[in-house]
Amino acid sequence: MASLKRFPAYLRDVQEEVEGYAKDFGLDFFPILYEVLDYKTMNEVAAYGGFPTRYPHWRFGMDYEQLAKSYEWGLSKIYEMVINTSPAYAYLLEGNSLVDQKIVMAHVCAHVDFFKNNYYFSKTNRKMIDGMANHASRVRRHMARWGQDVVEDFIDTCLSLENLIDPMSAYIVRSREPKPDADDEAEEQSGRMRSKGYMESFINPPSYLEAQKKKREEEAKKAKRRFPEQPQRDVLAFLIQHAPLDAWQRDVLEIVRDEAYYFAPQAMTKIMNEGWATYWHSKILTEKALKSSEVIDYADACSGVLATAPGRLNPYKLGVELLRNIEDRWNKGQYGKEWDECESMEQKRNWDLRTGLGRKKVFEVRKLYNDITFLDEFFTLEFCIDQKFYAFGFQERTGNWEIMSREFKKVKDQLLKMLTNRGQPVIVVEDGNFENRSELLLRHIHEGTDLDANQARDTLRNGAKLWTRPVSLLTKVEGKGKLLRCEDGNISERSADY
């Protein structure tokens, strides 16, 4: 891995130069180790998600084949890759022009700064290279003992559920332990209606209190019988704890869950992270590092990165434009109560209080926000119009994807919807003893979009394999509640109350 001998001196000079500028601008990053790779190795490393050692699995081979083919056909080329570790490892593509390498290095500096400082990366394992290698050797050991096919099949099953995690759980408290003394007090209080002393026996007669007490007890009993007590979003954790798995199976499932959590923050901050990196490579190159002879090549590369195509959201473009918009607004004081309440577009257009806080603000944003909060707070009507955003959808009538609306509210709703839970449906464990038959009930928290029915069935089968007993999924299809149940690999469907 650390074969840095392949990093030539002239690139080291560029690295030093670029990192110097980056530090002057206030970027704060882990040390970066570059490696220059030929395209084959680049595709290989990319297929492994940037890591030198992953556990053996065919899907890496599939990803590799797709990357390799798309490179050979000239459809795509990986310019750059960097992983969230300390020190950070980054890869450059052999044979890229010097300008390209400069851009990449500036870009990488900003990514690493983001990894280091953004709150949502704060809980990630910075030694993940070792982590992944460790996972690999564990999986290899299981394969040696139980057979490659068996273990690989099981990994397939686990991966099918890998998105059923709770990425925010590291940052918030989902449930608190009940306070030990709260119980007695509550018992005293609840059920008893407030009354003046002399009215007490009329308002709260003993029979009534007795009835209330009974009712409460029954409720408590019911709650206790519920398992899990609260619907649980981390389905994988639930399975690890409660599914009847062999030790090696549990270990594999833990590995899959671990890696899913490791990658989750990247999905949660894709727009910001790419926007931030683009913002800085543009700033560093155009203001400092670019020679006049390199301007055209730079512009060419940049226009490729920022190109938009119909029906595609370019995270680089959206991210960088929004960051620039924020910088501009905070430079001109376009925020706060007065700004929000101003109705005149004319006045708003010429609003400039010369506050000059733009740079400070973008650094703050990169520290505290993720894609959802970033867009929720800063994606404004003016920005939406200015950047020509639209919402699109599938038009059954014509069989086409069409522009549906340019209305600000619709666009923003759509945008936020797409980003919620990294664009994944929210599935929770509702009942681990469904119908008192130790079956598992999952519930799809329906937020306006149905599940892909075919995939849902296949995934449910995999869930049942792990649980070893029938697994059901409560969801909504075209507005009606539906219960999918998988028993012995067979799926049955019936309507149900949602």
Partner: protein, 371 residues
């Protein structure tokens, strides 16, 4: 350079292979892979091997884009490969995701062989040596100047000069003399080669419709693929006939449509002539395949056919295959006549192809004898 990914990649290819094998019957009957054929490879759309997840259905979800356009403007077809991307994921096609996998014809033939349990063919004429291949294997002292080995010659000269004490390191001049000269030498390796020719014959009279031809086309692709994997060199010839027979190229073979009557003997005559003129049977493995709907002009002509086969075709060929494609117009009599006359002869294979689904079984009937 070997890469770490090779193992995982190999594993992936293995899975793909399994998938293709599983779905072979479907591919064969649907002829799905045509049009995507490269020189030595075909691209096969295989059902997704991707791992299923709970995810949103595409069509309800929609997305956000950036750029010009009026409300109602189309962004692209819903059904084709890349729908608009949603979010920052690449666009997935709705419904069943198909993956185009490139696979070599050789590998495809192997898969087919395994799945249909086709025996490997014992070619006749393996012993025949039809080619020599020259290989440079060593060095000798004599030879033509054009094969002089420059480096070895100078090395020899250097060796001689050092031993003679005439070599001066400060002035390293080396002059080879005649004895120093070294030449490449070669060996001629006999390369046993077995060749095969497939002679396709097809009835193109009016009763053979497009559907029937499609079946022949599909079947011929698989026969080609299999036989190619069994022989070093293979040729294909194409004969069409109605009341007359003529040789055409592959394209013509599948496109031509005549309206005349049917005289099968005309094709057999041409076939027999082809064999006797161009393909001496001691050097060639010969495979005539004939496809028709089973209608012949007259009983007399059928009789001629049988005679032709007996005397001029069968003695020379590895296998004579007759495939009868069911058609609403044909009487289907011919196959009965053939079975009647050649039931005992294992050089003759007949197969009734009732529809696309039957293609695979018919291939198995044709090639299952390992001849």
């Amino acid at each position: 350079m070997s890469q770490k990914i090779d193992l995982d990649h190999g594993r992936f290819r293995q899975i793909i292979r399994g998938k293709i094998k599983q779905n072979l019957r479907k591919y064969i009957s649907q002829g799905e892979m045509f049009g995507k054929k490269g020189k030595d490879t075909v691209a096969i759309p295989i059902p997704s091997v991707d791992i299923p997840h709970f995810k949103h259905g595409d069509k309800q979800q929609g997305g956000v884009g950036q750029g010009d356009g009026e409300v109602g403007d189309a962004l692209g077809q819903g059904e084709d490969g890349d729908g608009p991307g949603k979010g920052h994921e690449a666009g997935d096609r709705p419904g069943d995701h198909l993956l185009d996998i490139e696979i070599s014809l050789q590998e495809l033939a192997e898969i087919m062989g395994e799945e249909l349990e086709l025996p490997r063919i014992q070619p006749k004429g393996t012993e025949k040596i039809v080619a020599y291949k020259d290989k440079y294997t060593g060095i000798r002292n004599t030879g033509p100047e054009s094969l002089r080995h420059f480096r070895r010659t100078y090395r020899q000269a250097l060796r001689r000069q050092i031993s003679m004490g005439t070599y001066d390191p400060k002035n390293p001049v080396i002059i080879p003399i005649r004895d120093d000269k070294r030449y490449r030498s070669w060996r001629s390796d006999p390369l046993p080669q077995s060749n095969a020719v497939i002679i396709y014959m097809m009835d193109v009279s009016g009763s053979m419709g497009d559907e029937q031809k499609e079946i022949v086309r599909t079947e011929s692709f698989w026969i080609d693929t299999w036989l190619k994997s069994q022989y070093h060199g293979i040729e294909s010839r194409y004969i069409i006939h109605d009341a007359m027979a003529k040789e055409v190229d592959r394209d013509q073979f599948f496109k031509t449509r005549e309206s005349g009557g049917t005289m099968i003997s005309s094709a057999y005559k041409l076939c027999a002539k082809m064999i006797s003129d161009e393909y001496p049977s001691d050097l060639w493995n010969i495979y005539p395949f004939h496809f028709s709907d089973g209608d012949n002009w007259s009983v007399d002509d059928t009789h001629t056919c049988v005679e032709l086969l007996k005397k001029e075709v069968l003695p020379y060929v590895n296998l004579f295959a007759y495939g009868q494609v069911e058609s609403p117009y044909g009487s289907g009599q011919f196959i009965k006549d053939l079975t009647e006359h050649f039931d005992e002869d294992e050089r003759v294979v007949t197969s009734e192809i009732k529809g696309k689904e039957a293609i695979m079984d018919s291939i198995k009937e044709f090639l299952g004898k390992g001849r």
